[in-house]
């Protein structure tokens, strides 16, 4: 076959497309219909009056009928031809829009006029201006673009060349198109996926026009009545009958085939779908139910029109007064299923039927003999853990089941499933989803949503994002906003001026709350800037720091300040006192399930993934605890006791320790700077066995905190007085200290070993007590400023 990459306006398809536009218009069809009615009515009247002219009118009425039949059948679709000519392969709308004199710039202009071109522009946020701007970069002739379009059609296995394919072909013909696309955070692969997405949706529309064969009115005549089952179960077959699109793109066809195979062969005709919640187990059963009810599906006759009922454990339990009554109901239901001969029983959350407790009932004793006798068919849905538990308790039961594992989907599969799901969400929520919102839903749900697996969690996030749609469009930002609002995480790269200003002046903002420790402040500030600019390693925490130094010098204060300045308030700090983890067995407390211990490290991070994690007095923790923490420092994840991956990738991890405090004090007293002895000190700590080298190496930075000098303490005192004034501001009272008073406090509060802590106590005993007395005695009135002199300090 010869290739032709030119548009041929004399091609019969072009001619037909124009005919369709004219003759298939509502006006022409209505006119034709009126003529038909007039001819038949006129003929009828003449026939009544016995006029021979009636035959002429009746005869002529055949003409509008022929016309109507021709338009509705010959012109309704203009199929592509099996050739390599460009004109034979293009879609109907393009046939009407293209002509031989067109330039690439003209092609760009017609794209929004095609349904698929518009689809691509909207879903990929490619504005009209984008195509206008690239107009100047395009080749002079259209042939290379048409050539690319033919290749893309083959590569994407598209039926025809649509506007979307033409748009991608235009982009592919730009010099440096990959660079241009990367500016839009897109790749050519994404656009190819967009073409497939359009083809899929188009296929759904076409498929919806087909008549569905579901067995007819006498389908269930040969099967029995099931009144009790109907009362306590949901008929999935009736619910999903005719929704054939549900399985078109789902990557689980293989599993459905396995189920069909199990149910159509002799032996154990029972299935256990084992997989995590959200991995699509229930969707598989719905798809299977739909397949059985479709007369045109290729399944054995023994399975055709079999109906799947999902038994509802809670309604069964609530209807019965005691376990005896539950047993009675279950026997009745099982008898009905057996007699009906067309029922497959589905036990969703199957563990509820095999354990005693609130909302559950143990029917193993009833079910096992029935299954052993092969009297009924059953599908059970459960997760791995529950399967193991049921196996341990009732090995006979699990031996009767064919276990089919449902694994969570990967990125490609998830995106396909989301594409599958999007039309339903769009219909329900009246929004339009962009392609990037799908990718973002996958990425963010993977990182932040726990307890549910892919693709369930991505679907969940995508659905929730509809509430954050702007102008009816759900974009990447809508998904990010959903996560930010729901989980309190900051994921967007700093965008507004206020955020940028905060980040650029982070050191100043921190120093407004704490004194000196420039090295440590600078290290954490840099880490935050890297994270906010999106240049940090995505698979590690924002920053990991080990703060070493004497007590009371600001280690914990820096962590709190960070939380206040960057993590939306001082409450976003997860503080773990490591002196409570001194035994090897304490590792289990660190990773305990949130339902059992809400204060375990993993539980707190699940609740607050965007926070400062402060591991206080790390040197006191047991080596096994430190080994557990290695993974967090390295990969930013920790598995809890339920084996859930908990992400620490949006946290700053700060470990504090007093180890080496004496050496630091000694070196500083000798007048050395921190950099002069830092390496030696770390080496000494390793040699002394205080920390293992592999633990210290995991931190981004080890920051040494020097002891506070008297000058530093003066600044600390000012901060404390400022804090007291902040507390008093609601009473419109302020306090200030004379210089002499300050000197006295510094002298009394200075202790190189204890840092600023004694100063806090002194301020409480003197300043705060003085102010309290003044307020109670009526000396301090709203609007007054109390000045505390040295004498008053001495008296206090």
């Amino acid at each position: 076959m010869s290739h032709s990459f030119e548009f041929d306006s004399k091609n019969p398809r072009v001619h037909k497309a124009y005919q369709k536009r004219i003759f298939n218009s509502p006006a022409v069809l209505l006119f034709n219909f009126i003529i038909l009615v007039v001819l038949l009515a006129g003929g009828g009247v003449l026939f009544y009056f016995k006029s021979c002219f009636c035959w002429l009118l009746f005869g002529c009425s055949a003409f509008p009928i022929v016309f109507m039949f021709w338009v509705k059948n010959s012109l309704s679709e203009i199929p592509i031809k099996n050739s390599q000519k460009f004109t034979d392969l293009i879609s109907e709308d393009l046939l009407l829009l293209l002509n031989e004199k067109m330039t690439p710039t003209d092609l760009v202009r017609i794209l929004p006029k095609t349904r698929s071109g518009l689809f691509l522009m909207v879903r990929f946020e490619l504005p009209k201006s984008f195509f206008e701007q690239i107009g100047g970069l395009l080749p002079a002739a259209t042939e290379p673009i048409y050539d690319s379009a033919c290749k893309i059609r083959q590569e994407t296995q598209s039926e025809e060349i649509t506007g979307a394919i033409l748009a991608v072909a235009i982009i592919e013909n730009l010099p440096n198109y990959e660079q241009i696309l990367s500016q839009l955070k897109l790749s050519i692969h994404d656009l190819y996926q967009g073409i497939t997405w359009y083809n899929y949706l188009n296929g759904l529309v076409k498929g919806g026009r087909k008549t569905l064969h579901t067995g007819g009115i006498a389908r269930d005549f040969a099967f029995g009545y099931t009144p009790t089952l109907e009362h306590f179960a949901l008929n999935l077959s009736v619910r999903y009958m005719g929704t054939n699109e549900r399985i078109q793109q789902a990557e689980n066809k293989e599993i459905i085939e396995k189920i069909i195979h199990t149910f159509s062969h002799t032996g154990r005709q029972n299935v256990a779908l084992v997989g995590a919640y959200g991995s699509g187990r229930s969707t598989l059963v719905s798809s299977f139910a739909e397949t059985l009810m479709n007369a045109d599906s290729k399944i054995p006759n023994s399975l055709k029109y079999r109906q799947i009922y999902a038994l509802d454990a809670p309604s069964l339990i609530s209807a019965a007064k005691n376990s005896g009554e539950i047993e009675y109901l279950m026997i009745k239901i099982l008898n009905e299923i057996y007699s009906a001969r067309n029922i497959i029983l589905c036990l969703d959350n199957a563990h509820l039927f095999f354990e005693e407790g609130p909302g559950s009932v143990d029917i193993a004793n009833l079910l096992v003999p029935v299954l052993e006798a092969g009297k009924i068919r059953i599908i059970m849905i459960m997760d791995d853990q529950k399967f193991l538990e049921i196996s341990a308790k009732n090995p006979n039961l699990t031996n009767l089941l064919n276990k089919i594992v449902v694994t969570p989907t990967d990125q490609n599969e998830t995106i396909k499933i989301l594409m599958d799901q999007v039309p339903y969400f769009e219909h329900q929520k009246n929004v339009i989803y962009t392609f990037k919102s799908l990718l973002e839903a996958y990425r963010l749900s993977k990182q932040y949503i726990h307890d549910i697996e892919m693709p369930g969690k991505a679907k969940l996030l995508l659905e929730s994002s509809a509430s954050f749609a702007e102008n009816g469009l759900v974009t990447e930002t809508s998904v990010q906003n959903t996560i930010e609002r729901t989980y309190g995480v900051k994921i967007k790269v700093a965008e507004d001026n206020e955020d940028r200003e905060t980040l650029l002046n982070l050191e100043n903002l921190i120093h407004a709350r704490m004194v000196d420790q420039v090295e440590a402040v600078s290290a954490v500030s840099n880490a935050l800037r890297r994270a906010a600019a999106g240049v940090k390693n995505q698979s590690r925490p924002i920053g990991t720091f080990l703060f070493l130094g004497p007590t009371g010098v600001g280690k914990t204060e820096l962590a709190k300040t960070l939380s206040e300045v960057y993590f939306n308030g001082e409450n976003n700090i997860i503080r773990i006192d490591m002196n409570e983890f001194v035994e090897a067995s304490d590792v289990s407390r660190l990773i305990k399930d949130g339902a059992k211990d809400s204060l375990s490290l993993t539980a707190q991070v699940i609740k607050q993934p965007f926070a400062v994690v402060l591991l206080d007095e790390i040197e006191k923790a047991h080596p096994s605890v430190l080994t557990t923490l290695l993974q967090v420092l390295d990969e930013g994840v920790l598995r809890d006791e339920r084996n859930r991956e908990v992400s620490f990738r949006d946290t700053i991890i700060i470990a504090t320790s007093n180890a080496g405090a004496n050496e630091i004090r000694k070196h500083i007293a000798e007048g050395k700077k921190i950099d002069d002895f830092k390496e030696v000190l770390i080496e000494k700590m390793i040699n002394d066995g205080e920390f293992k080298p592999e633990f210290l190496n995991r931190f981004d930075e080890i920051c040494l905190f020097k002891p506070l000098s008297k000058e530093d303490l003066m600044q600390v005192l000012d901060l404390m007085i400022a804090s007291t004034n902040k507390t008093l501001s609601s009473q419109k009272i302020s306090v200030k200290l004379s210089d002499e008073a300050k000197q006295i406090l510094i002298e009394k509060g200075y202790d190189p070993k204890m840092g600023a802590r004694p100063m806090r106590r002194i301020v409480q005993k003197t300043v705060e007590n003085f102010v309290a007395t003044a307020i109670l005695s009526g000396i301090a009135k709203p609007g007054s400023t109390l000045t505390i002199s040295a004498t008053e300090i001495n008296i206090s």
Partner: protein, 126 residues
């Protein structure tokens, strides 16, 4: 030009399209009346009422009663299915006959205006 194409289509693919539509129409009737199921299960008990069989140890009297119950259920099933089968077959027959007639007279339809003109000229009245 369009008229020539229309007539050309009528005598070429149009005929096949109509035959295809007729086949699809008949297939929809077959599905609507569940003809396949009706024929396959013609003598089965209706909705499995009294379809249980007595076990071997049951008394002769019970066995006999169950046999009679089953027989009645099968008879009801047979009668109901037969009614539907007949209705379905009737529709298939009528639809099929009309379709067959239309397929046969298909080539004549575009000639109807000429036939009408001839009849008018001949002054035929009823």
């Amino acid at each position: 030009m369009a008229i020539i194409e229309m007539f050309f289509w009528w005598y070429a693919s149009g005929w096949a399209v109509f035959a295809q539509k007729t086949k699809s129409f008949l297939s929809n009737i077959i599905d609507f009346f569940s003809m396949n199921s009706l024929i396959r299960t013609l003598f089965k008990p209706f909705r499995q009422i009294s379809a249980e069989t007595a076990n071997e140890n049951a008394s002769l009297d019970l066995k006999f009663h169950m046999f009679i119950d089953r027989l009645i259920s099968r008879f009801i099933g047979f009668a109901t299915r037969l009614v539907l089968l007949v209705a379905g077959l009737f529709l298939i027959l009528v639809g099929g006959t009309i379709s067959l007639v239309l397929i046969i007279i298909w080539p004549l339809v575009p000639l109807m205006p000429i036939i009408g003109l001839v009849l008018t000229i001949m002054g035929v009245t009823l």
